[in-house]
């Protein structure tokens, strides 16, 4: 049962073979058993979950259920959830019970999907290993000595361990795709503006985007149908006609032009990852696709550009955590400035402080032009490269991360080494393009390998089509860690 697809679960609920309460209980039991070793959840509240499940059962009984009503889902702890502790993985919000629902949460509630709890994450979504969480590192279900990736590491691990059939994530520089790759699941970051950011605690506003995470592309399509839509509370939310992201899932791939950016297969890429991605390309060719060599020359600059822009925005976004109105406040202080300093020194972890300092620096008088403005210009060039590429291909394919999961602690002392893990995912955020990761094999250590698809603006349905067709002829996404079944 815990390995069933969302559509299969929905069918069983609709057919009354199982109730939402029973299904939620099944996952809650798995969380009780497995979470102590994985640490994928920060907050679990069985009572709340079962109440929501009971409400879903009533809806099903009353005959006004939606496609996913009764199917439970786990939410990244970055989404404000009315009445739930919402920590963003930080001591700063260790006591913050949100008084309102994020737009994404409202949508899933309206769809009748009970929440299984709030998943662990890197503090304020800053990290690629889930080791910066105030609530402790998340372990990779495929090998608990390894990281699950980040920042949506709890979400990815909860799905890999089948503690949840679906989860929400957010992606600022790869935070959905990289943990999806490292945990062997499917995750999609939509076009910027497709999913409202209202109620999603901001890291870097111009890059942040929420998206679905689940075992398979088909699941993600169903979740995306729930998540997307215009929200007047988010000025960057796009007003477009509602799409059905499942509509193209079963299209044949005949004639599909797959762009292979040479920069994504260059130095720094692990051989086993390269081989698995190339094997996936071969599969797609068998399905009728052709390949095109393309270049995304400016993507080489994505990491430095990102580490100017994202910290700049973060340094300002995180200013509201000042100990005045909510959240952590230092117990002792001698003045207002002392209260600010101690609160923020004690409430934020090292990585968050590092990024606030970088951000404040690049925005400072005398440095702004050299860093922030320059980075914005290169950001435009990176987007231009993609625009040119999409004139000759329909979708871009490459590895999601340069390697598979690394050991806990292995990179935590070397921030730059850690940042390089997002080398292939960051360009899509900078350009605002949709990107997704799907499983395409395992390395010799038995750790999952992810391949990344980047599509043109609003081509989510196309990307899901490619991923689904690939997943019809492969079973990487359906595999589960031994011992956790």
């Amino acid at each position: 049962m815990s390995n069933a697809s969302l559509s299969a679960l929905a069918a069983q609920l609709a057919g009354r073979q199982i109730s939402s309460r029973e299904l939620a209980q099944l996952y809650l039991d798995r969380i009780t058993t497995l979470n102590p070793a994985i640490n994928a959840f920060i907050t679990v509240d069985a009572e709340k979950t079962l109440l929501e499940a009971a409400a879903a059962d009533s809806r099903i009984a009353a005959g006004n259920a939606g496609p996913l009503t009764g199917v439970p889902i786990a939410h990244k702890d970055i989404f404000c959830t009315d009445g739930w502790l919402t920590t963003c993985g930080s001591k700063m919000l260790h006591n913050f019970v949100a008084p309102y629902d994020a737009h994404v949460i409202q949508r899933f509630k309206a769809a009748g999907m009970p929440s299984l709890g709030k998943t662990n994450m890197d503090e304020f979504a800053m990290g690629s290993s889930n080791e910066t969480s105030h609530y402790g590192a998340v372990k990779n279900p495929w090998n608990t000595a390894y990281v699950p990736g980040g920042s949506s590491g709890g979400a990815a691990a909860s799905i890999a361990a089948r503690m949840a059939p679906a989860a929400t994530g957010t992606d600022t520089g790869g935070s959905i795709r990289q943990p999806a790759a490292l945990c062997g699941i499917t995750g999609l970051k939509p076009t910027y503006g497709l999913v409202s950011r209202y109620g999603m605690i901001a890291f870097a506003s111009s890059l942040d985007q929420a998206g679905p995470m689940a075992p398979a592309a088909e699941d993600c399509a169903l979740l995306l149908n729930v998540m997307t839509g215009f929200d007047p509370n988010d000025s960057t939310s796009l007003e477009r006609e509602k799409e059905d992201y499942t509509r193209d899932l079963n299209r044949p791939l005949t004639g599909l032009r797959v762009g292979l950016p040479r920069e994504f297969f260059a130095e720094g890429l692990n051989n086993e990852v390269a081989a698995a991605v190339e094997a996936a390309v071969t599969e797609l060719k068998k399905l009728g696709a052709t390949t095109v060599d393309i270049s995304l020359a400016n993507s080489q600059l994505a990491i430095p550009v990102y580490y100017v822009l994202a910290p700049a925005e973060a340094s300002s976004n995180l200013s509201r955590f000042d100990g005045v109105r909510y959240g952590y406040r230092a117990p002792e202080y001698t003045s207002l400035d002392d209260m600010y300093c101690k609160t923020r020194a004690q409430g934020f972890g090292a990585e968050v402080k590092r990024r606030i300092m970088i951000g404040a620096y690049v925005l400072s008088h005398g440095y702004y032009d050299a860093y922030y403005l320059q980075a914005q210009k290169i950001r435009r060039l990176i987007a231009d490269d993609f625009n040119a590429a999409f004139k000759v291909c329909d979708v871009i394919l490459g590895p999601t991360a340069p390697g598979t999961a690394f050991k806990l602690g292995e990179k935590s002392d070397d921030p730059v080494e850690m940042y390089l893990n997002d080398l292939y995912t960051i360009p899509a955020n900078l350009a605002g393009l949709p990107g997704m990761s799907l499983p395409c094999g395992f390395d010799t250590k038995g750790l999952p390998i992810g391949l990344q698809l980047v599509g043109n603006y609003f081509s989510e349905a196309k990307m899901l089509n490619v991923a689904h067709q690939y997943q019809r002829v492969t079973d990487w996404h359906a595999r589960q860690p031994e011992g956790l079944k």
Partner: protein
């Protein structure tokens, strides 16, 4: 050494929108603390700003009214600093691309040659504006209300402001006050600000420096923050200018600084020096899209603008023959201008109407501390009253008595005239009888007049007026008396 004063003003006007600039909360003044602060206003994690189009329309109106450039694409920036009444840790403002740039305001400055008379002596000056930009107000820190603690009221947080920055073109406190008054008139006139200075709807910062006459470079300026009355503006500038000149003449230097004016001592005192100035780390707010103004929108807003003070002043001079100074006074507020025009139209006597509005009526309103909107005497009544002077029913003196009756609510003009018997005597038979009586009773004066003492004539006129209880027409008295005496 002769010194020249250089003043530029930054004025924060609260825009008269019903809701805040980035949230749906009410902007009404005076509610219990924090009852008008939504999730957005208190900056809960995850909330986002959504721009209130009404605030943009206020800024467009202002830009059109001063003949400024409206930037078709303008951008909101974040100004970052920590303060407890600034919930996000940044203020959303506009730095690099404000909505309004340029424009000018024509002001009437009382002539320096006759500063005290204030009647008709004025010089016109054009003050250029640098820019005007939209931003959100901060909350309030309440330092007095809680012992040993500071209370935070976020009701005001997010109230829309238009910060209006002038060029440093004013050369005296009088000019600065004239500019501030003209600006106050304009923003209330076009309905973008309620102008209530006590409630902080119109707050002035003055940048003040001095330099030796003839020197081209500006002196170092000090900024006087948050002046909330025209009197304080004048006092603060006057003190600051004296202080700066004394400091320089004593061989000292002026350091760039922000200062506060203490109305009790009449002095300015240092708030922070340049060294303590913040680095605000401005950058474009990624939560808000650039504001785009299309021509349709601008034209729709233009259509809602009333006739502006400058145009109305020109028209008043042209149509009613009033002086430039009087026209400026009469357009001190839209209500005053409307009142004047209604009265002038009702009687067809612009100059007389202007005199009555600026004289008798203004004095009575001032004494009673009433706004023109609350005047007990309506413009129509005043017009009728002036008409009664014109048609000879009333003398000027009698008219003042009728005005008193109107003010007291004793009824309409003609009713007051009748009830109080204030009609000017027009029946010459009745008047001739009074004159005969007066002549009979004052043979000495008659004698004196006939022997060439003209003064005696005036005494006789006075006697006739007195006997008629002021109701005789003075011109008629003159005429009849003279013909009787020279018979």
């Amino acid at each position: 050494m002769k010194w020249e004063t250089v003043i530029g003003l930054e004025v924060h006007t609260q825009l008269a929108t019903k809701s805040k600039i980035f949230s749906g909360s009410s902007t009404a003044f005076g509610a219990a603390p924090n009852t008008q602060a939504s999730a957005v206003d208190i900056a809960l994690p995850g909330v986002l700003p959504v721009l209130n189009k009404g605030a943009v329309e206020c800024a467009i109106k202002f830009g059109l009214a001063i003949g400024a450039t409206l930037n078709r694409v303008n951008v909101f920036d974040r100004k970052n600093y920590f303060y407890p009444d600034l919930p996000k840790g940044y203020q959303i403002s506009q730095l690099a691309k404000p909505i309004v740039e340029g424009g000018a305001l024509t002001i009437q400055v009382p002539s320096t040659s006759s500063p005290s008379t204030g009647s008709g002596q004025s010089e016109e000056r054009v003050i250029h504006l640098t820019r005007a930009h939209m931003e959100e107000d901060a909350g309030k820190s309440l330092h007095e209300d809680f012992h040993g603690m500071t209370g935070i009221d976020l009701n005001r947080a997010g109230t829309p402001l238009l910060e209006i920055v002038s060029e440093p073109e004013m050369r005296s406190s009088a000019e600065a006050v004239a500019y501030a008054r003209a600006l106050h008139t304009l923003v209330t006139w076009i309905g973008i600000c309620d102008g209530n200075m006590q409630e902080g709807s119109f707050r002035v910062d003055a940048n003040v420096s001095v330099r030796p006459v003839g020197q081209k470079e500006f002196g170092t300026r000090r900024e006087i923050k948050n002046l909330n009355s025209f009197r304080f503006l004048q006092q603060a500038i006057d003190y600051e200018v004296r202080w700066q000149i004394e400091t320089l003449e004593d061989g000292g230097r002026i350091e760039q600084a922000t200062v506060l004016f203490d109305p009790d001592s009449g002095e300015t005192r240092m708030m922070r020096s340049k060294e303590e100035a913040h680095d605000y780390r401005y950058f474009p707010d990624p939560d808000l899209l650039p504001v785009k103004l299309d021509e349709d929108w601008i034209e729709r807003v233009r259509a809602t603008l009333p006739e502006l003070p400058a145009a109305m002043q020109a028209r008043f001079q042209n149509d009613y023959g009033v002086s430039a100074y009087d026209a400026a006074v009469l357009t001190g507020s839209r209500a005053l201008a409307d009142y004047f025009e209604a009265a002038a139209r009702a009687c067809g006597q612009g100059k007389l109407a202007a005199n009555w509005v600026m004289g008798e009526l203004s004095a009575a309103l001032n004494k009673a501390e009433l706004d023109i909107e609350r005047s007990p005497v309506s413009a129509a009544q005043l017009g009728t009253l002036i008409g009664r002077i014109q048609d000879g029913t009333l003398s000027g003196k009698l008219a003042k008595q009728v005005f008193e009756g109107l003010w007291e609510g004793a009824g309409e003009v003609d009713a007051v005239i009748e009830a109080r018997g204030l009609r000017q005597m027009s029946d010459s038979g009745e008047l001739e009888k009074i004159i005969d009586d007066v002549l009979a009773a004052n043979p000495k004066s008659v004698e004196e007049f006939r022997s060439g003492k003209d003064k005696a004539f005036n005494a006789l006129v006075g006697q006739v007026m007195k006997a008629s209880r002021g109701k005789a027409n003075p011109a008629q008295v003159n005429e009849l008396l003279r013909s009787r005496l020279t018979d």
